[in-house]
């Protein structure tokens, strides 16, 4: 159950509502999200919604049978639109394209890719500066210096950027340079990080865990939403399965189910979702047709020389062709 509050309540109004919730054995959290205030209430009891609708200070009451509440489409039917400024929006019925390298490597690389994006009228660039790597001996990214350079070039070209944050201590320092925080698959249930991202007012692209369920993904989004951040995107990036013919199994079903279950925009990552360069466009197109609000993929001036993910990165020619196909199929 979600109780939406009016704009000004007295301390006593709050007390009366909370007492009533306690009497009906609800757990509850007070949430301020999207400029409104709510109680998110979790309990097993069947209760007549009017019991709460009548209370002073209550604007509306919603029954949400899903275990996640604020991210559920049972509560909010209107799709969430994320506004990055300068007329760049995600989830407004058009397909958002985000492209860029796996890792930010140097100024030249960023500039070349930015030029590629500008030429193709793409508004959002991806690129990692903190890289989660299985081995401690692998390249782990350029860090803050890389991010500052990345941000400077993007700003100069009116490009928004999305980049991965791995640790809650990085959030504050990264904040001025980032348009969208990405939470990676390995951090999809890093609840402390989610708590902190929930507190900040910056859009977040949340990746599904390596073998995370759809339900877990929605609950992880709920972590952030219940702290007040309603600028969230859900990202399907393939799941781990028994099949070894490709890197991950892109879960096309998940696109359909996430769009049904939540009002949040759903982004597809075909690069990790299949992990084979020549098949990335196919998976991207399929995801777009299945209803994804956006596609995020890897592109590099010379994929063969990329410091990571070389085998799943497109070159500019392939990228341009993919953009054209996406636009012809979807919009």
């Amino acid at each position: 159950m979600i109780i939406q509050l009016k704009s000004s309540l007295t301390e006593n109004d709050y007390s009366v509502i909370e007492n009533n919730l306690t009497i009906h054995k609800f757990g509850f959290v007070r949430v301020n999200a999207g400029k409104k205030n709510y109680y998110v209430c979790v309990g097993k009891n069947e209760v007549d919604l009017r019991t709460f609708g009548h209370l002073k200070g209550v604007e509306d009451v919603f029954r949400v049978t899903d275990q996640y509440k604020l991210v559920s489409s049972q509560w909010r039917i209107e799709p969430t639109v994320i506004d990055l400024g300068n007329d760049v929006k995600i989830g407004n019925g058009h397909l958002s394209i985000m492209a860029g390298p796996c890792a930010i490597e140097n100024e030249n690389q960023v500039e070349e890719i930015v030029m590629h994006l500008v030429k193709n009228n793409i508004k959002i660039m991806r690129g990692g500066v903190f890289k989660p790597r299985s081995s401690p001996y692998a390249f782990r990214g350029m860090g803050m210096e890389g991010l500052k350079m990345f941000s400077r070039i993007c700003k100069a070209n009116h490009i928004k950027l999305v980049t991965e944050v791995m640790e809650l201590n990085q959030v504050e320092e990264m904040l001025p340079y980032v348009d969208i925080f990405q939470v990676g698959a390995r951090n999809s249930q890093n609840f402390n990080l989610l708590d902190v991202l929930g507190e900040c007012r910056k859009p977040v692209l949340l990746k599904r865990g390596i073998s995370g369920t759809i339900d877990e993904l929605l609950h992880s989004a709920e972590y952030m939403y219940s702290r007040g951040n309603d600028q969230l995107m859900l990202c399907e990036r393939g799941i781990r399965s028994f099949e070894n013919a490709y890197r991950n199994t892109f879960d096309i079903n998940a696109i359909a189910l996430l769009k049904e279950k939540s009002h949040l925009p759903v982004i597809a990552d075909p690069s990790h979702g299949v992990g084979i360069r020549k098949h990335v466009p196919t998976v991207a197109l399929a995801a777009a047709v299945a209803g994804a609000d956006g596609v995020i993929y890897e592109v590099h001036p010379t994929p063969e020389l990329a410091k990571s993910d070389a085998q799943q990165t497109l070159d500019f020619t392939e990228s341009t062709r993919l953009i054209e196909k996406l636009r012809s199929v979807v919009n």
Copy 2:
């Protein structure tokens, strides 16, 4: 390695070739498929193809590094087209649509569905008369009587039919009534059944195993092809994963990979691939855009009353809408 033979060889020609293969430590099988004769040769040795190309009776020699040979696109680049007669073809660059109930239930049901197909200009109907069921106490299909009735109504309306064969003993009896034999997911590695289907000259739609790899699927097709049946289709129908939000995980990557690795037509089964009625059309569209040569899905006059698969079966309205969308997106 595949050695293509000329049309008439003497016993001595065969001996010479086989001796040479033995000398080079190749295992080999003589195959007659698609009106031509071949030796399919399996070995670990690197060998100069001209060694065999020069022999009397040899028309051509192909190097195939894949473990499967005859179904590999390394050997045959041209896509296989399956001709069902009356101008019904699969794999010719257009999207083939096959629809029908999970199980054939009675004459009325078949007639209503046939009318629905005719109205929408669909040429192939699916429907099971032998049903594999986890429990011995569940409905196991109408059997041969059902098939005869099914076939009679289809023929009267110029509809081709595809139906599952579960047991090699059924093949001969079913043969006159069937246009395409379907091998179900649980029989995807029933090698004795594949042997027999390889001997008969009837198209086969081979489903991927419940957790079968792409490689296993291609090897199962190779079983049939190496017995001479080159009228084969590969069917992706979802794989078993940890995710419980739907029935199976439709493997959109597999569509792309199968099209790359084999010349055989690839058919998508979105009904089993997601298992949730409202999401079947989404998955069907995605598969079509990803390059599937056909789509097979479940439709029933009153899905709620279907004897099996009720939860994943479309009604006529939904089916008509799906057909329209498929045609608008793909052709």
Copy 3:
């Protein structure tokens, strides 16, 4: 619900019972198993067991809430013991050991292994003559000639044999030479084969499917039991997972759960369960300690030269050591 019948009923007694079942909306099957007669009844209705207990001809009535009935420990609490004759029993509280090659290769090989078993007081030998192989070009076994030879040598040495049957047409021919039919993982849901094995009075060792659930395994056993064959064993042989460090993931949990849910003996196959020679004994010991009634593993005079499964086959020294450890830990 299972209704146990008295020894002699009139046609009218049957009619009365069946009418009552129909009235209460039960589906039912008449089963003769273990020298007794039963109705196995499947339905959704809650019903007072006495409704049926009072009827003429009824000896006892059992409530079984599991979807499988005859194999459920809710019905039969006493563990099933399988008597192979000559005092060789499985499921009587002692650990049964079955060992032998993946494939029967020649007379010498069989004799050497039989001598090894005799020396170690092992009473049951495994060995395949019909081999399911992913590729049609691989060795597929010696067939019936191999089985006759295998059987002759075993009989001469008072060894019982277990061997895989792949096709229902093989059953009759194999019957005189076989002590236990094995149903392989790929045939775990070959329902036509299970039907036929259910009709014959010969013990069956049923392997779990490659990614079969515990529930599916029990239902497959129910197929045979409901046709009258109560001499069944359930075999855990590892499941397919994302992990590639070994061949299959041996499911030790399944040993515990199968023992809880069913009265049938549970056999562990550590050879396929891990697929790495040096770890086979470890998994065998763990399974025995977890409550398995038996262990089936692969042994060969020279594993390196075995025609199949070389990498997971023990030699005689390793086998002897394993037998000693198993006996010291379990009995």
Copy 4:
């Protein structure tokens, strides 16, 4: 390759070694672990070990073909023993038992369990104060106050404690109260946390990821070891699979493989590994027989009332019986 250094080197000695490594295209990290200094070197080149063995300051050179180096048994053959003081050791050939509640709830609960452990001569207690929970609305643990209380009672009774750390910011504050840090399954690839734990000199019990591979687990341990922490334990706690009859699939194979591939102690968590109370002892015994160096399981005075994991927690009677069985089987 691992280069072990002598105790005192000049800056020039280091330079010479590093120049040689660069010439041979090795990446390298200087590591101080277990009171010795090493270069861990990663590269693709085959090189004669003597090239480096001859250099000044080099004590020994080890070829390690595994991708992980310091945790590999190719480098260190002797099993690692972790000494917690007061004669409590892990990995010394005896089975270590760790037991306690899922979550620390209150003083009474801790005292009762401590008494249970003391009575059974168990030296290590588990208990979470920071709890990772899928839903933000679930109980998330008592936090630092709980830890202080937990630690106080343990110390008073000469019990060592293991508890989960979720965030690197918690490490410093927790340090004085903790004997073993546990890294949970969801943090198994939280590389920033691993870095920090690698810097501190406190034993760590590292859980395998929810669907983490054996290789990933070893690499995560390598993260910590390469920062100097050699007091590490690997914990198998079940993997995510398609099977729903229990919570996770306990990977008994992993026990065997981890013992083979690494010198680190391997701990089994049967509580999460099967997730069903009555089967926890069976899995614990199997793991012990398979070679685990320790077992960690959940126990609570009244499992039914536990705030989390109630369904997989033993009561004192069950726990006592399990301890007896473990001791009778293993030691």
